[in-house]
Symmetry: C2
Subunit: 365 residues, 2 copies
């Protein structure tokens, strides 16, 4: 049970503070620095992570004592949630902190949620736990269908969910895919991630995951923590991960976030990045092969073009000549292609496109 | 099968045009006018609907012939989708129209999706069918748990989904809850709609729907067409419908959209409005009863206050003195309350709050 691990870590933090107090030292809280200057791209591993810089917060320090107290209050609340075996969100936590800090403290030391949110990240980084292990749920989004089963122990219930029997709906990916949940009988050849729910539904209706024996996921836009973590776990089962998005700024962002992680979550980079992921399309070069796409491009926005130019400068992108070429085509042509455009000739074409790309391994790094 | 009904209506539209051509008349397409001036609030029925104004579009009319052609092209594509028994979205439809209009027409008469979208609504209004019956899916969002089963016939699959066995995830509400889908064994006492997914998850973890024998739905923000239609269908089964939102502009908007429908969907108002719905909270007056809430209010935004002032003028709101009073409290105090605040004293308090309100029928119209 990872929960127990999180509790042990909170207790250990508490003990070290008590020891400092008893030995007449200034109680301190040390966490990894999450400032931009401490975020690096790990070339060897292929994801964004934190460097070695630390941040220290002391109790006896006018500028730091309030935040020190707030951080400890958050740790105490999370410890309580774990003991109660109940989950909430960072907003629920904020309201508990605002309501009361405990039996002895009547003063509200939190006035806005903007105060508590970064301190939760501090705690995650300091204890090397994810907030999900502190019983704090993040926003969930994302849906899955395919040959696998879920064992879900939740709220006093134990259920088995068969992801081949979810009809048009699919299985909703929860915030936490690590604790009290298991993935069993994962009998698929690969994982296909489709940016848009609408295109996922099209493929689901065609039985794509059944015919191809794959796991079909849509993050429904940008992938949440839960969906990114699930993709990481599926990659750990040695399943190839393919990502299919629009050929535009937003689509690329979805791909690179899944692959290398993001600045915001660099502090848990290893757990949510999937450097093994490959990009299946839509590519600007697809126009050479699928002539009809020329007719179905739409005008790139200024944001698309600005983003493409920025991406040419990222070390983890510019090292791939295929990506440099892609970005150059978009900047020059000022056009973009949506994944929905592949429904142009006929609704089922999108599946054929994917099948051919995967069969020929016509993917980008 | 409603699909067949939609096809029959498309055919009948086609036949009337053919007859007009054969008899030397100017082919015409008549639909209900969806302009604001033709939208009325039906005092007796309690929802927003279209009035009697019609809009006519003629083929032999320089200003109208392109849109006439486009509308017919859309009808033809939808007829094809129904025959193929395949679904897409209004975006997928757009790309098919852009790709080709048929064997004989090579000219692309659509350049932007903004052109085809309103014409689909024209067709829905003219034929008195919902786009879901034309095999066009809308955005889906919303999750459900509770004592009911779904029979889903989709993509050559037939599945039974038990909404008591969906664990932390719940059952995802699809775009279309009318065709090839059935709700059976609906054995619940009432339906509770919770604005936020996070609060829904809290209640789901507490087994609220099991203890109360209710159906627990979250629209995950503003309710989609599918979720609104599902609520309407559950109300038709004589289940009381309770809505629980934040006490702010966005929360009220969610409630009133579920209850009276919206201007955008007035053309299918009857099918998506649930005038029987009752508002459970959070109310500004809750502060009188739950003293701690005073500490947990947050500042109302300008938008919240402006919206409250506007709402005082709506005939379907100002007729209720309870609502006028609520809005006055918010305008005067410039405060609002989130539903998450009910987790302040303890995480499980939100369930107790709801139980008490429902037991005492302490709801607003």
């Amino acid at each position: 049970m990872e929960d127990v691990e999180a509790q042990r870590k909170i207790k250990s933090l508490g003990n070290s503070i008590v020891t400092e107090i008893k030995t007449g030292k200034n109680p301190r809280f040390v966490t990894a620095s999450r400032t931009k200057s401490n975020i690096t791209y790990d070339t060897k591993e292929g994801y964004l992570k934190l460097g070695r810089a630390k941040e220290e917060r002391n109790f006896i320090n006018v500028a730091q004592s309030k935040r020190f107290m707030q951080t400890i209050a958050i740790a105490a609340k999370c410890d309580k949630f774990i003991k109660e075996n109940l989950h909430t969100t960072i907003r629920g936590l904020f309201y508990q902190l605002k309501y009361s800090l405990g039996e002895d403290v009547d003063e509200s030391i939190f006035s806005e949620q903007a105060e508590s949110n970064p301190l939760i990240e501090d705690l995650e980084a300091a204890l090397e736990v994810k907030r999900e292990e502190l019983n704090l749920n993040a926003t969930r989004r994302g849906v899955l269908a395919g040959n696998m089963k879920i064992l879900d122990r939740f709220g006093g219930e134990k259920v088995e969910i068969d992801c081949t029997k979810q009809g048009r709906s699919g299985w909703s990916i929860p915030s936490d895919v690590d604790n009290d949940i298991e993935f069993v009988n994962v009998k698929a050849k690969y994982v296909l991630i489709v940016e848009k729910d609408a295109v996922w539904s099209r493929l689901n209706e065609d039985g794509f995951w059944k015919k191809e024996n794959c796991i079909l996921i849509t993050p429904q836009g940008q992938a949440t923590r839960g969906t990114r973590r699930l993709i990481r776990k599926l990659a750990d089962m040695n399943l190839p991960i393919y990502v299919f998005t629009d050929s535009d700024a937003w689509g690329w962002y979805i791909y690179w976030t899944i692959k290398t992680g993001s600045i915001n979550l660099a502090y848990i980079g290893k757990d949510v990045a999937t450097p093994e992921a490959r990009f299946i399309g839509v590519t600007m070069s697809d126009i050479d092969k699928y002539e009809f796409l020329k007719k179905l491009t739409i005008n790139a926005t200024e944001m698309d073009i600005k983003r493409a130019q920025e991406m040419m400068g990222y070390e983890w992108i510019k090292k791939y000549k295929e990506w440099v070429q892609e970005l150059e085509i978009m900047i020059k042509s000022k056009k973009k292609i949506e994944q929905d455009a592949l429904q142009g000739p006929r609704l089922t074409f999108v599946g054929d496109y994917l099948r051919e790309k995967i069969k020929n391994n016509a993917v980008m790094p």
